[in-house]
């Protein structure tokens, strides 16, 4: 794509600004449009999704948690479908869903605590089960119902059910958990709205700060005198290297695949200037010459578009060669990936096959005979199997493959893991 073309289309920043004076539906449509046209991609997707979901919470009509959850789910799935190869969209939607569930639970717990305070000690219900209160009963309840009422079969079974669902949500069906929440007070909807919006702000902050946080770990990872191979350094990797350069003296080998047609400018010129200014030497490599340098290299660094729960990565094409080469020479491979890029799902068939780009990166359209004779497949994404990766450097610190599950468990609700499976018909 010509850079000149990008200048004329609405960019993400303009889009986010326009959210305030557009209707919600128009905002969603324009974001979907940009996603389909691939004008918004990579890290921007996460930001855009968070922004638009905040609009959904702020602008759409909802009276209780269930309605809000279903709104977020339906809008989120539309966005995720628009860009099936941008898994971060799904991640942000899951984070927001989890956030809403947390807030709703807190609210209810607060209610329950209040009601508990008002309740008698003589209550036969075990005090360790605050949620065992009949949920349909509006709180605060001044007087506890008599045990005989509670012990009716229906009430008991519901209580038991809720008890299980809260204690171990993973065992309950997705709708099960939301059943008690539906009882949230309409009066508390306003409070919930602002709390959820605050929560989304936090997620946005996390997304914005993730690169800097990861860069903060650079001096631990990079040692003086290291030869670091950076494959097609993204913004995250650039920040990481520049930060490291302020503390350490090392050498960076920047590898990139064949230069695209018609660009004469040396790749990554600005990064090299910054690094050189800090006293770090840089060497440019073409990716096909990369193998020769691997024995000299101490570590390989690149960033991921997404990390799947098995530890596999979705990356820009070419990184796989670097990872494979490093694996063969037993060099450590460090992947920079903020937590919001961790997907609680396995890579799909489409991901492992890679996304196809425009063949004109390799064959000029003006070259008639070649265009007629060749089928050019320009894959722009790669899937890297987990065995090739040694360290996942997140904004929470370095992790290994074996700890990915705990990160996923910390950030996503079990109910929302199946989010992408709920993608229905358009």
């Amino acid at each position: 794509m010509a850079p000149s073309q990008a200048a004329h289309v609405p960019t993400l920043d303009n889009l986010i600004k326009s959210f305030n004076n557009q209707t919600l539906e128009a905002s969603i449509e324009s974001l979907i449009f940009l996603l389909k046209w691939r004008q918004v991609k990579g890290d921007e997707c996460a930001k855009a999704t968070a922004h638009i979901l905040r609009q959904v919470v702020a602008k759409s009509k909802w009276n209780d948690v269930d309605q809000l959850l279903s709104r977020i789910q339906s809008y989120g799935s539309r966005l995720a479908r628009a860009a099936p190869l941008e898994p971060v969209i799904g991640n942000v939607v899951r984070r927001v869903l989890g956030l809403i569930r947390d807030e709703a639970t807190e609210d209810r717990n607060a209610d329950d605590l209040a009601s508990e305070a008002a309740s008698d000690i003589q209550s036969l219900t075990p005090s360790t089960n605050p949620t065992a209160h009949p949920p349909q009963r509006p709180a605060p309840v001044p007087i506890r119902p008599s045990p005989s009422v509670i012990s009716t079969g229906l009430q008991v079974s519901k209580s038991m059910f809720n008890l299980l669902s809260v204690a171990n949500p993973g065992d309950s069906p997705i709708t099960g958990a939301s059943t008690p929440m539906s009882q949230a007070q309409p009066a508390s909807a306003h409070a919930l709205r602002s709390e959820v919006m605050d929560g989304i702000e936090e997620i946005l902050d996390e997304i914005n700060q993730a690169d800097d946080q990861i860069a903060g770990f650079s001096e631990i990872q990079i040692h003086p005198g290291d030869y670091v191979l950076a494959y097609q350094p993204s913004r995250t990797v650039e920040k990481f290297l520049v930060k490291a350069a302020s503390k350490r003296r090392f050498t960076v080998l920047i590898a990139s695949h064949a230069f695209s047609y018609g660009t004469s400018e040396a790749p990554y010129a600005t990064l090299r200037k910054k690094l050189n200014a800090a006293g770090v030497n840089t060497i440019n490599l073409a990716s096909n010459g990369l193998m020769a340098y691997i024995p000299r290299v101490n570590k390989v660094i690149f960033s991921a578009k997404a990390v799947y729960q098995n530890g596999g990565l979705l990356v820009d094409s070419g990184s796989c060669i670097a990872a494979q080469a490093a694996y063969e020479y037993l060099k450590p491979v460090i992947v920079l990936c903020p937590v919001y890029k961790f997907c609680p799902e396995d890579p799909s068939d489409e991901v492992s096959r890679g996304e196809l780009g425009n063949p004109s990166s390799y064959v000029s359209y003006a070259n008639g005979p070649a265009v007629d004779a060749l089928d050019v497949e320009n894959t722009v994404t790669d899937y890297i199997p987990p065995e090739l990766i040694d360290v996942y450097l997140t904004n929470l610190g370095p992790q290994t493959r074996h700890h990915l599950a705990s990160i996923l468990a910390d950030h996503y609700k079990t109910e929302d893991i199946g989010f992408s499976l709920q993608l229905g018909e358009p």
């Binding site: 010509a2 691939r38 628009a82 196809l356 425009n358 000029s364 359209y365 003006a366 007629d372 358009p426």
Partner: protein, 573 residues
């Protein structure tokens, strides 16, 4: 206005080849200003273009034929004004762009060309371009305009193995092979079928062991077991019976039905429609579509423009992807979404010959134009020059208000140059013109003059007429030319209607005598005519000739006298 163009290099891709008409842009590379626009195509009679001399006043210019014009212009509001001023501009390129650049002095509007070297640009102006662009889409040259972007609402294309794009709810049975194709929702493909390089619409039913290659099959089509379709376009709801063969280049329009086992002709490929050219239901042609089939061969009532296209088709293997395809009733409706130029093509086919003539006037000079306007005047004589010249001269001789013949002479010479007329043709035209005028003067309504007076009046009433006859009509000093002119006069007289033979003979004698006395014809010339066998080859001519006997005899005597005089003169010297 800035025209957006995509350069396609020296070895053009199929998109450039499919254009048919090659646009020629003459561009100033320093400023990007477009200086001249022309169109060429392989069928034109003249394989050259005239450069406007003004082009050379620019320091540098490029003549480029390697550009694909996607028809996107960035315009100022002035462009609309220019359009409305020139109501005869039909096509945005051939007429408008060409015209505005040509009349640059008049309009003072500069047009620019933006030539892109990357990205993708094309316009589906005909079925060949439709084919080409569809293939580019499948090969992802047009990113992000690829099926799996699902840019339109309700699309659910996914890329699957084999380079294909498949929507939801597509059932491809085990054993069916789909490669490099796009398949729409709800289509079923049964076992053993092989589809490659094709675009299949929604809700199609494709039977067992069907072979489809490089074809376009629109929504709701049914292709029964064992059929094969190669590089064809099947419109919506078409039914192809079992074991049919649809060869390359076939077009089948909406709701047509091909019965089982029919082998459609491959040369020329069939065009089948249930509607005829006049938008009425066509009578089913059973020999073509088989028993139980529906549809007939579709032909366009060819006018001149179209017959040109057909010529190109004969040479071009992909005849049915030529622009004529637009006329297909069914296709026309649907291609409107693909190509806005379809409507332009309709203009071409609907407009009559006069528009076609005027549109080409710039390319072919005035010949065609004049021809068509005079053809009705004198259908028996298709020679445009002759009729035109005789009319012009007779009008000038008749003119009462002016004694000057120079204007007529100029016009005649211009006409002669424009038509590259031969000396013989000129002589004939002049002879006929003067004879007509002289014959007219014999008639009662013009004064019923005597033949001698009429001849004198016709030749001498206008200044310069005699000189004109001498220089142009006779066209030389030679005896042969003079004899030819006399013969032309004689023949012209036989063709004059409403004149009795005796009087016309007298007129011929009078004319010859007058010309002799005016020194246009010399006695050698007249005698040579007299001796010429052609002057007596039929009765009419001979009768006229006999009337001149007196003159000839007198001339022979005079000759003797003169020669003796000359001898005397010589002696004097």
């Amino acid at each position: 206005m800035t025209v957006v163009l995509r350069s396609v290099g020296e070895q053009p891709h199929r998109a450039a080849k499919a254009r048919g008409i090659t646009p020629v842009f003459i561009v100033d590379p320093t400023t990007g200003r477009c200086l001249q626009y022309e169109e060429t195509h392989p069928l034109q009679s003249e394989h050259y273009l005239n450069l406007d001399p003004a082009v050379f006043s620019h320091g540098q210019f490029e003549i480029r034929t390697d550009l694909v014009d996607c028809g996107i212009d960035i315009c100022t509001p002035d462009v609309l004004a220019l359009w409305s001023e020139s109501f005869d501009y039909e096509l945005p390129r051939k007429n408008f762009l060409h015209g505005v650049l040509k009349d640059w002095e008049l309009n003072g509007k500069m047009l620019y060309a933006e030539i892109l070297d990357d990205g993708y640009a094309a316009r589906a102006t005909n079925l060949q371009m439709y084919d080409c662009i569809s293939r580019d889409v499948l090969e992802r040259w047009t990113l992000p305009f690829v099926p799996d972007s699902n840019l339109l609402h309700g699309q659910t294309y996914r890329r699957v193995k084999g380079g294909s794009y498949v929507e939801d709810h597509v059932v491809a049975e085990r054993g069916a092979k789909v490669t490099q194709s796009a398949v729409g929702r709800g289509t079923t493909i049964k076992t053993g079928s092989a589809i490659s390089g094709s675009t299949i619409g929604r809700r199609c039913k494709i039977g067992k062991n069907v072979k489809i290659e490089n074809s376009y099959i629109w929504d709701d089509a049914v292709i029964e077991d064992g059929a094969s379709v190669v590089h064809s376009v099947l419109a919506g709801s078409v039914v192809i019976g079992a074991n049919c063969h649809v060869p390359e280049g076939t077009l089948i329009s909406y709701h047509a039905h091909i019965a089982s086992g029919v082998q459609l002709p491959s040369k020329p490929p069939a065009r089948i429609s249930v509607l005829a050219d006049n938008k009425q239901l066509a009578d089913t042609d059973i020999s073509l579509v088989g028993k139980g089939g529906k549809g007939a061969s579709y032909t366009v009532i060819a006018d001149e423009e179209d017959s040109d296209d057909e010529d190109s088709g004969d040479r071009d293997p992909a005849v049915l992807q030529s622009s004529l395809i637009y006329s297909l009733e069914g296709l026309n409706i649907s291609t409107s979404s693909i190509s806005t130029l379809a409507s332009d093509d309709e203009y071409d086919s609907d407009d009559d010959i006069s528009l076609a003539g005027s549109m080409r006037a710039g390319d072919f000079g005035h010949k065609r134009d004049r021809l068509s306007s005079f053809a009705s005047d004198d259908a028996a004589k298709p020679d445009g020059f002759h009729n035109d010249a005789v009319h012009g001269l007779v009008d000038a001789l008749r003119a009462d208000d002016s004694d000057d013949f120079d204007g007529a002479k100029l016009e005649f010479m211009g006409l002669r140059l424009a038509n590259n007329a031969s000396d013989g043709a000129m002589r004939r035209a002049i002879a006929v013109a003067f004879v007509r005028r002289a014959a007219e003067l014999l008639a009662p309504e013009h004064g019923a003059l005597e033949p001698t007076k009429a001849a004198a009046e016709a030749l001498t009433s206008k200044n310069g007429a005699v000189k004109f006859v001498r220089e142009v009509g006779v066209g030389g000093e030679g005896v042969a030319q003079q004899a030819e002119f006399a013969l032309a006069l004689q023949k012209a007289l036989t063709a004059v209607r409403g004149l009795e033979p005796g009087r016309s003979g007298a007129l011929l004698a009078a004319l010859l005598q007058q010309l002799y006395s005016l020194d246009v014809l010399e006695e050698e010339g007249i005698l040579a005519w007299w001796a010429d066998k052609r002057a007596a080859e039929n009765e009419g001519l001979d009768a006229l000739r006999q009337k001149c006997r007196v003159l000839v005899e007198w001339l022979e005597n005079a000759d003797e006298e003169e020669s003796s005089e000359e001898e005397g003169d010589d002696e004097d010297e």
